[in-house]
Amino acid sequence: MIRYPWPAGVASAAFVSVHFDAEAFDLKSTTEDRLFGRFSYGRYGVRAGLPRLLALLERREIAATWFVTASDAERHADALRMIRDAGHEIASRGVDLAPLPTLGDKERDTILRGRDVLAKITGTAPKGFRAPEGELSSQTLRHLAEAGFTYDSTFQDDDAPYVFAPAAGAKLVEIPTVHALNDALPLSARHTHARVMKIWREEFDALHREGCLVPLTIHLRGDVGLTRAARIAALEKVLEHMAAQPGVRFMTGEAIAAHALAANLPVEGDPVAPHQPTLAVTPYRGDLSVKPI
């Protein structure tokens, strides 16, 4: 059992996040003029998956957090407003899915543009951010805090939210995720959705029992996402099981972050600084991890 000051009556908080990742994802592998055939799974997510997922969340009365790139937002502004009107939170995933550390001195402007495009379409500036491929630079947290974001949700290092102070006087909540509850990884390895949902149920039962955050990551796409009819049905069974456990509350990232800020959690130092001297003399030897998308 972990100690975390969840709101009264809450044993564990379920955080349903959706990666919109439509054409922005396909465009990592191809060009605008070739978004057909195998490069149209992103379009499936918007055309076929979105109504199905929205209907499921409405049936289960769950408000989710949708992480959207500015490029997808501009392509699908009406869809974004529909998601907003259904009571969900819209959060940022940058401009396209280029990893932030590759942007150099353009990183700050990219974060600002990601924020501003969503604000213009939905009427509200996003509060939350999740980095493409899970890649942050040493400056990202500071940029986010300075751009008015209240939380990041990219780390994988804890069972509950915590708070960074990336700039003087600024606080940024971290809402950590877990690989095991990201649909895209096992689906990209071509596991059945039944197997993926088996993993989710087992992971959830233990997280709930220990009073942890339960961060689900759902992709909208037709390939590595959960929005095909059979997958939505499988997902619904898991969500139903979760909701049936006493003390489970579904919370958006924004609500989780607001609660964390009000809880006066201890503030953590810069997560890079202690490692900087070693990193400065250690050559890059390649990344062995399997990437979240």
């Binding site: 972990i2 980095a131 491929e133 899970g134 890649e135 942050l136 040493s138 990202t140 947290l141 990219t154 780390f155 994988q156 290092d157 804890d158 069972d159 950590p176 877990v178 690989h179 095991a180 990884l185 096992p186 390895a189 596991h191 197997r195 993926v196 088996k198 993993i199 087992e202 992971e203 039962d205 233990a206 997280l207 029992r209 220990e210 942890c212 997560p271 890079v272 202690p274 490692h275 070693t278 990193l279 250690t282 050559p283 890059y284 030897r285 390649g286 990344d287 062995l288 991890s289 399997v290 990437k291 979240p292």
Partner: protein, 279 residues
Amino acid sequence: MRTTLPPDIRCAVTLGVDFDGTSHEVGRGIAPIGGHSWGRYSARRGIPRQMEALKRLGVPCTFFVPGYDAERHPELVREIDAAGFEVAAHGYLHEAWDVPKDEETALLRRTDDILKDILGKPVLGWRSPSGRKTANTMHVLKSLGYIYDSSDKDYDLPYRLRFGKGEDDWIVELPNNTYSLDDFPFFKFSYTPPSEVLAQWKEEFDAIYASDRFCVLVVHPRSGWGSGTPVRTQIFAEAIAYMQSHPGVQFFDSAGFARWCLDHSQHLEELNVTDRRAA
């Protein structure tokens, strides 16, 4: 001669937790943030959760700790030791261990010094980070006073690994298997549901209990491909409880079992690698 455990040891089990904190990423030149932050989970949540489970079950365990992680979490390393668990060495920055021979001594000594300094006592064992080692490694380990290595994958039983012609030029080898009696292959590569991983470990144990009677199970406390998270620590604990339910199973920490091997070295097969000295 083949190693045979005497009848009074019905089955020996050694459990290992390979700490693998931020050293894993930092050692590859990657800042341990965002999606690369799962090593932070080890000290924050994984080690405390796994220690609690091990204490509840009352079994010994060896924590193989990279020197870099020990430097960042000396209190936690002392807690592991104070709880009665063994602390052993696991590289400095979780190296891939493609080290030139003339640097190997300094590299092994660096972590040895860090751990000895924190613990106030000698370190007795080593497990290679990445599972690589050289023909020279055993010489260095022995010169540092280590009594065992637990990195080779070539056998189901402990043995004497002879690396030189001198009478004492051998070390106890406690071989492990990172394809089946480990957590990361299932959580990193095959995305196996935890209940199926548990079933696999139980089958492994059943077969071992019925044959060679020596079981080495290894987990990692990190998030991502490790087992520090709730359900994965739970199956680690369930696997241990399953072993405990079998008559005559004895749990050792790796140093404890290596000492038993030293005291009964006449029961141990010898593998002579003297001719495979590094150039």
